[in-house]
Every structure is written in structure tokens, then in C-alpha cells.
Symmetry: C2
Subunit: 358 residues, 2 copies
DNA sequence: CTGTTAGCGCATTCAT
DNA sequence: ATGAATGCGCTAACAG
């Protein structure tokens, strides 16, 4: 029923080995023979058997891209960019040549699912794995990840981090592109302080994630440098943790405004959270930025369309994803030391302004 | 170097077949034996060889999810939901049991890449393929797709459409979940007409996509039912096509406003385009909705946070994606006739209002 | 319930 | 430049 290499060989009147050689193209074959084989392939509508091929060659053309939440454009943009570099432009025939199969795996932010996907990719003898976004910092999970990644690397799978800090153990097994979340967070809060804000609410992400921690650390660095937030319980009082979604931004902001009437600005963990924060501010009858300034992080596409446009920190998500894809393909050399820090750029827009006098 | 089934069998003092049986769990094995095997698996850190397994069993656990643009939450939400149903919750151990490997493939809207991905999945003997979003209506491509899908289905791959109309040929090979784009488009424009709008601009998507066509057809149905847009060139004059992105919404709206000063409302192909339209309206010094009403489609999460909140048509993307995932897994029976139409709900918000007198 | 036997379809030696 | 032979690691009959 299903046509195999041998069928093609028979029709082209050559040996299976020859067919294999023209298909893989990494071996000299006479032009006339090659044409005969290709014709037979077309005639028979032959499709390579991937598993058999992978088994015999002990490698596969699968590349996995792990993301925390594919419904979030933050990950969608990076993953799409990476996949573009990996999948290649195709040869326009739909015939599929030597391309890799770049696949996106959605962990939902769950450590277990992250490990499960790595195991699945390990089973498939994946050629490379790209891990995007912040990591969970539970020690047990970190250890399990380090062990799993070491095994993958050992089996020849290339590992690339994208927007994710390198492992504590710092194995040189991987190339890591880390966003400067701390620096971005610091500059954002410095901007607010320079506008005159003194009491700044902070809607943070889940506490166990590196991204959350780094952005918050940057925020607090800026506060401390300005001599703010040092009163007992000052910083903690103004910080609320929650998931990276709109609802969390909305509720945390309501909470902060209620508890701390003196707050004149709210910094959100990311742009999506900031949108929720904006809605909460407005629902309290307050104006942005006259009464309360609001700022986000990431500069997702919709942020410029918020009204007023959102002050935020731009992360070059597309560029980083594309670079990660190239690293995964070995099309680009790893950065020195295996780690590159990606700069974050402060984008000042309409949602932040000096606080009202009073 | 790499540990195989046989190694595990040796250590557990059983035959390879027995190990295979406990791993696959679809065959009775004595409890004591199973435990011995499992222990050996753990001791040896054994990982199944996916290609070998797939080759022997002539099936794989790969499920492909094709999307046009993974950076667009429209697709991200559907794909994430589908993947959740397919990947299963994991067993919490990261060990990976009988789960499928649900992978997202980003076609970028390119017909060639769509076919290429299908070929790649065909090679892998994918268990199922979910195709999301609108299809391109070039006859040659449609024929190629139909042929390719027929072959996939023939090889036992389950095919599911999600938010995509069934093929013209209407093979019963597939289950299709189609959004009621036409009905949604009609009701949206009816809403505007009932508010009193008479000249309505329309920023459409790329003309070759089914989604674009259906939404536009609904729009024109509503116009015609109200006796509008029947003057020569009326509808065409007010319609501009472009990609499904913000920039297109911005530029097309500027264009429409410039050419047709009498326009009092702009309908956008989707919410992202609508955001661009809003920006254009504002940059012209016009107010929403007092001067110009704006409406979108899809009801993406950010739409409720636009200011004013966007009137749009809600598509149950998450639910549809999840259902597609279940269909792909055979966890749910296909709808009668293989086709289900998913209702679209009009969401009336602040961005639409009666036009000013004049 | 468990072991034995045969391939699955292909890539890759080694010859020629 | 091509053909013949071997084995990748596993599953699926078939026995027992």
C-alpha cells in the first residue's frame, strides 16, 4: 500500500542505496541516474518515512521551541521568528527538502509539562531545543532541568535559551540570550522617579519566575538609589504578585489604590498586566496620566495603541527569536562565553507624566 | 553509550517484549514484573527511541497544528487550547507517558509552507493534523491541499479544521469547525445601520482568504438588505484590502477617510486591524465614536481595553481550539456531517454610536 | 502472563 | 558512481 524506497528503486532500476543518496543529496550521483530517480519519486508520489530515516541515521530533523504561553504574543513573536529561521523558506514546491520541522511546545508555565516536553523531544532525538521566556526557580525543578538538558546535549541536541537566564550551573552546553530585565526595570522606575513620583505601586508577576525577580530587582535598585522605599515594609506594601495576565493587573491595581491612596504611579510586570492596571485606574474614576501614571514592559504591538499610549520597555522579541533560531540551526556562532545579554530600551509615551502637586 | 530496551530487559531479567509492554501499558503484565522493569528504567535512565518505536508500530504520537501567524493571539489562543487537550496534563513526573507530542507549525500564511509542513508531518506519520484559520482560495493550491490531505487521511492521519471552512470537494475525511464569519459580519453591519450609519468604510483582509471573503459577504448582505451600497461603485469604493495587521488598518482608514468624507463608521477585518483604524481616526483629529464609529472582529483579549472599548464580534477561540484538539485525539465524536458551525456573538461596546447629525 | 522470532524502512558501511 | 549487505531499536504476531 505505502510506497517505500525500494519501490522507487525498482521503478528507477537502481538500488535502494542510490535512491537514498539522491534524496539526501550528500553524495555524488550521476545526473542521468538522479533524474531517473526523481522521476520515479514523482510518479510514485513517494514520501520519505521519517521514523525509519531517523532510526537509521540516529538523528532527526525535529527542533522544539518551548514557550510558557503561546496565546501571549510575547511568546508568539519569539516563537514565530525562531520558526522562520529554522523552517527555512521552503523550496516553493511543498515537497520538503532538507528542512527541519520546527515545532512549538506550549508548557503553560508548568514545570512538569516543561520536563515532559523535553522528554518527548529527547525521544524524538530532536536536533535542537529552544527554551524561551523566564524559568521557574524551584531548586528541585532547576536540578531536574539541568540534568535533562545535560542529557539532551549529550545526545547531540543543541540547546538554546531565548529570553531566559543561563542555568546556575552555567554549563557551556548551551547558548543563552538573556534579556536585560533588571536594567530595563531599573530605567523604567528611574524615569518615573525623575518625573517626581515617590510612591510607586508595582504589580509583579509570579514570584517564582526569574523574569519577575529580575524586573522587580531593577525596580528596587532604582528606588533605593533614590533613597525611596526604605521605610519598613515600604516596598513590600506597594508590591503585589500575580500571574502575567490582564485580570491580575486589574485586581492588583485596585488593591494598591485602595490600600495606598498616596500612590501616583503603577508599574506593571508586563504590557498585558498594564492594560488591566489601566482599566482599574479608570474604573476608579482616575485619569491616566494626570492622576496616575501607568507603565508596562515588553512593548507588545498593542501597547502603542493604548490610550494614552503605554510607556514601557521594549524588548526586541522578534530579533531575539530569530537569532535563537539561527543558533539552534548552527547558522550563527554562539556569543562569547555562550551568553549574550539583549538590551532593553525605555519607551516613554503618554501614560506617564509628572504627578499632580499635593 | 545510549541505553536501549534490551539493556533495560537485561537488567530487569525479562525479555524486551515485556519491557515494551509495560512501557506501552496496553497489555497485561504481572505487577511484580512491571515494578522490576520500571525500576530498571529509572536506574538506567532509559528513554524510549521515538523513531524506532514509530517505525515498528507504523504510527507516531506527533500531532501537528497549523497556524497562519503564531504571533497573532487569534491563532495563539486556538493553538494553545488545542495543544492543551492533545498534550494532556502530563503525569506530573516529567516522565512522559502515552501523551502525544502536539506541535504548532507556523505557515506565515504562505501556501507553500502550508504544503511543506503537511509533507513534513506526513513523513513523520503524524497521528493527526489540525488546520486553523482561513484558507487561501487559489484553485491550484486548493487542489494540492485536497490531494495532500486525502493522502494523509489515507495513511490514517486524522484531519481537523478549526475556524476554517471545509474543502469544496467536501471529503468526509475531515471534521470541520467553521466560524460563522458571514453571520457575524452581517450582524455587525446591521448594528451600525440600526444606529443610523449609511456610509460605512470596510478595511478587509487579503482578498484570497476565505475568512476575508466571508466577513465581507456578511457585511454586504447587511448593506443590501438595507438598500445601501447599491449605487455604482459604492461598496467597492468604501472597501480596502490589506493584510491582517495594525498597519494595514491605519493606512486603509486614512485612505478611506481622505477619499470619502461622508463616512461615519469603519469596520475592520479583525481587532488588530481595528486598532490601527482607531489610531488613524484619532490622528485625523476625529473622536471615536462621536465622529467615527469603529468596529472589529474576533474579540481578542485586548479589545475590551481599547479606549473606548471596541465593538466587535466574539469568536469562541479557546473553546473551538479545545474542541478541535479533542476531535484530533478522537476523544470527541465528529459533528453530524462532519461540519459544525461555530456561532459568532456581537459584542456592542463604546466604539460604536449613532453618527452625528449632518 | 511471558519469551521468541521477524521485520518496520532506511542509511551506511564495504565492495566493485 | 553504484550495488549488496548489515543493523538502527522497537513492536507485533505467534507460541508457550
Amino acid at each position: 500500500m505505502t510506497v517505500t524506497l525500494a519501490d522507487v528503486a525498482a521503478r528507477a532500476r537502481v538500488s535502494p542505496a542510490t535512491v537514498s543518496r539522491v534524496l539526501n543529496g550528500n553524495y555524488p550521483v550521476a545526473v542521468s541516474t538522479r533524474e531517473r530517480v526523481l522521476r520515479a519519486v514523482d510518479d510514485l508520489d513517494y514520501v520519505l518515512n521519517g521514523p525509519a530515516s531517523s532510526l537509521a541515521a540516529a538523528t532527526s530533523d525535529l527542533v522544539g521551541i518551548l514557550v510558557n504561553d503561546i496565546a501571549d504574543p510575547f511568546f508568539g513573536i519569539m516563537a514565530g521568528a525562531a520558526q522562520t529561521e529554522i523552517g527555512g523558506p521552503g523550496d516553493g514546491s511543498g515537497r520538503a527538502g532538507g528542512e527541519k520541522l520546527a515545532v512549538i511546545c506550549n508548557t503553560g508555565g508548568s514545570p512538569e509539562r516543561e520536563l515532559t516536553y523535553l522528554t518527548l523531544l529527547q525521544r524524538q532525538r530532536a536536533a535542537a531545543v529552544v527554551l524561551t521566556g523566564g524559568a521557574v526557580e524551584y531548586p528541585a525543578h532547576q536540578a531536574a532541568m539541568a540534568a535533562k538538558l545535560a542529557k539532551l546535549a549529550d545526545a547531540g541536541t543543541r540547546i538554546v535559551f531565548c529570553g531566559r537566564p543561563p542555568l546556575p550551573e552555567g554549563d557551556a552546553l548551551v547558548a543563552a540570550l538573556a534579556f536585560d530585565n533588571r536594567g530595563g526595570g531599573r530605567r523604567l522606575t528611574e524615569h518615573l522617579i525623575s518625573l517626581g513620583h515617590r510612591r510607586i505601586g508595582y504589580v509583579a508577576g509570579p514570584p517564582e519566575r526569574t523574569t519577575t525577580r529580575h524586573r522587580l530587582e531593577g525596580h528596587r535598585e532604582a528606588l533605593r538609589a533614590a533613597g525611596l522605599g526604605t521605610e519598613p515594609g515600604g516596598e513590600e506594601q506597594l508590591t503585589v504578585h500575580g500571574p502575567y495576565d490582564r485580570r491580575s493587573g486589574y485586581e492588583a491595581t485596585l488593591d494598591i489604590l485602595r490600600r495606598e491612596p498616596g500612590v501616583t504611579a503603577v508599574v506593571a510586570a508586563n504590557d498585558t498586566v498594564a492594560l488591566g492596571a489601566c482599566a482599574a485606574v479608570r474604573d476608579q474614576g482616575l485619569r491616566i496620566p494626570q492622576d496616575i501614571s501607568v507603565a508596562g514592559f515588553d512593548d507588545l504591538p498593542f501597547s502603542v495603541d493604548a490610550v494614552p499610549a503605554l510607556t514601557t520597555v521594549r524588548l526586541p522579541l522578534f530579533e531575539a527569536g530569530a537569532r535563537a533560531g539561527r543558533l539552534a540551526m548552527g547558522k550563527e556562532n554562539p556569543p562569547p562565553g555562550g551568553i549574550a545579554t539583549i538590551a532593553a530600551e525605555l519607551m516613554i509615551r503618554g501614560s506617564t507624566a509628572p504627578p499632580r502637586m499635593g
